[in-house]
Amino acid sequence: MSETAPPIISVQNVTKRFGSFTALENITLDIRPGEIFALLGPSGCGKSTLLRIIAGLETATEGHIMIDGQDMAGIPANKRPVNMVFQSYAVFPHMSVADNVAYGLKLERLPKPEIAAKVEEALAQVHLSDFAHRKPDQLSGGQRQRVALARALVKRPKVLLLDEPLSALDAKLRDAMRLELVKLQESVGVSFVIVTHDQSEALAMADRIAVLEAGRLRQLDTPAGLYKQPVDRFVADFIGSINMFAVIGQHDGATQAETTLETAELGRVRVSSARLPASGQGGLVLAVRPERVKLADAPPESADAIAVAGHLGDVAFQGNSSIAEILLAGGASLAALVSEKEADRLMQAESGSPVTAWWRADDMLILPENALSSGG
């Protein structure tokens, strides 16, 4: 993957409307050669529509798609140098596995021995060599998916498009396929664009993730970047779990460099003015990840600590760690990730016993409701 090479796919100001409904609004993003790029968002956010526009199965109402520097306007799906793995896999039920994989090659009028060799190679790549003569109805879901992968990859696309590739598999197979897809991408070297609604899938597989919501691009970053520096409340909430407190009042601090934010749960919190978001709309929220929350019997002495008193609620066991629920005044609650050892201690303690949750001010995010400056 190279950050300076020209993008393999360039999505430029793409808008898609279905009647009065806007499925995508002014999306601009680049996909780099050789990366795994995830389009992530809740269902109905337009991510699949964007994938279908890239594939040529839908036409953008406005904007352009460039693939390898070439404008795709007016070029139909069957002439585009990309291939797609469909959510339902769409493995042709009336053809054998080998015929499915050969389907796209036969259209290129290659000599028969060459087709056979390529099919064999593609099937070996997805570990289906022994299944070449089976019909799709004799395969499991995971095997059918690999047929779809082989069928698309054998065309040597410049980019492979995958629409919810793992959603039809059961949980255990899904985890195995994540790794396998990443390995496959490394071995073939072409960019993968993966559409998914599952943030953990995107975090685990993608080099970069575009978060879409209601047809708009909320944030484009690496998984770590999205997790550590979400631009707004939506992204923070969508990626991983997070505790959030709505800011109900904003006051000037003692100096210019400081601002006091007021929340119902935490009371007044002093923050550095430089950390306030520069743009965005809606109110502000204070947010802290559960793994940053520490528990103590009394508030810490440290000046940059933010502490809140509460009562111990349920402790949910998660194996090597647990999630402790801290009940705050006013009915709110707070989640804290605690170690195995600490969880043991908390489980001994009586439910409802007083506890102080605290975190370092630097670990707390100050986020706008919506980072987009105009309504969406």
């Binding site: 799906a77 797609m84 469909f86 769409a90 042709f92 039920p93 259209l107 799709p136």
Partner: protein, 308 residues
């Protein structure tokens, strides 16, 4: 399915009337026909069952063979044309916007609300030598003739000296038009059902892999809707083969099909045993076709089930 064991009386209450109906008005008459087919006319009104095979032997007479042959090719050709016309119609309905579908289906089913006799009489009016279709052809002829005259080719009489009406009635063409018109909805509906069920991503995948629209149609759409085509063929071909009214009215006695000859045996011919043998032969042919069809459907279903 097993609940009838638990509620035997309720089962009887529902089962008895329909079963009695079936026995009285279907199995018993069928058995009588079957017996008659091995019988001989003793007097004008009396038939004696002698277990002769003469009636079946007569099926091999040249006139009867040619009658069967005519019935079969008329039905085969009409079925084929029906499918060719029905497929695009079914495709249009299957790809129409959801709010349009019920209306388009209604248009297809609408002719069923009119009695077959009335529809066939309407066709007489359309297909006659002075009918609407010939009016249209006449108009087209005069337009063509006028155009040729305007081009200075009027003297060559390329389209004939004057318009000669095309004869449809009493000709196989007229009977076929009638058969196609009446049975077209039977062909549209099963094809529509199979296209409606079809996952569109198969077609998109084919395009995505570089296939043209035509190739996608031939190699993906057509094979995957073969179940519907199969059903459409059977449920148009079988009633066509046994149709009586359409060849009777539109064929004017010149284009007889099996059912017309059967009718004649029971009425003017007064040869019930031979009529019975003809009827049963038609029934056997139908059974064989149905068996072939359900065998094909079973294979298709098994394939779909395995696919999950």
């Amino acid at each position: 399915m097993e609940s009838y064991r638990r509620n035997f009386r309720a089962f009887l209450a529902f089962f008895t009337p329909s079963f009695a109906w079936l026995v009285l008005f279907f199995f018993v008459p069928l058995a009588i026909i079957w017996l008659y087919s091995f019988g001989e006319n003793e007097t004008i009104t009396k038939i004696r069952v002698t277990w002769t095979l003469d009636n079946y032997r007569r099926l091999l007479e040249p006139e009867i063979v040619s009658l069967f042959w005519r019935s079969v090719w008329l039905s085969v050709l009409s079925t084929a044309i029906c499918i060719v016309i029905a497929y695009p119609i079914a495709m249009v309905i299957a790809t129409a916007k959801p709010k349009w579908k019920p209306w388009l289906l209604l248009v297809i089913i609408l002719p069923f609300w009119t009695n077959l006799l009335i529809r066939t009489y309407a066709l007489l009016n359309i297909l006659g030598t002075r009918g609407r279709l010939n009016d249209l052809l006449h108009w087209l002829w005069s337009m063509g003739d006028g155009a040729l005259a305007a081009l200075g080719l009027g003297d060559l009489q390329l389209l004939g000296e004057r318009f000669v009406p095309v004869k449809f009635l009493g000709e196989p063409a007229g009977v076929m038009i009638g058969l196609i018109y009446v049975y077209l909805p039977f062909a549209v509906l099963p094809i529509y059902a199979s296209l409606e069920r079809l996952d569109r991503s198969y077609l998109e995948a084919s395009l995505d892999l570089g296939a043209s629209q035509w190739r996608t149609f031939r190699q993906i759409l057509l094979p995957l809707s073969s179940g519907g085509i199969n059903t459409a063929m059977v449920i148009t071909f079988i009633p066509m083969l046994g149709s009586f009214l359409i060849p009777d009215l539109l064929g004017r006695g010149q284009v007889d099909m099996i059912a017309n000859v059967i009718e004649r045996q029971f009425k003017s011919g007064n040869d019930w045993p031979f009529g019975s043998a003809l009827s049963l032969f038609l029934l056997y042919v139908t059974f064989i076709l149905l068996a072939l069809q359900s065998f094909a459907a079973m294979r298709q279903r098994r394939r779909e089930e395995a696919r999950g």
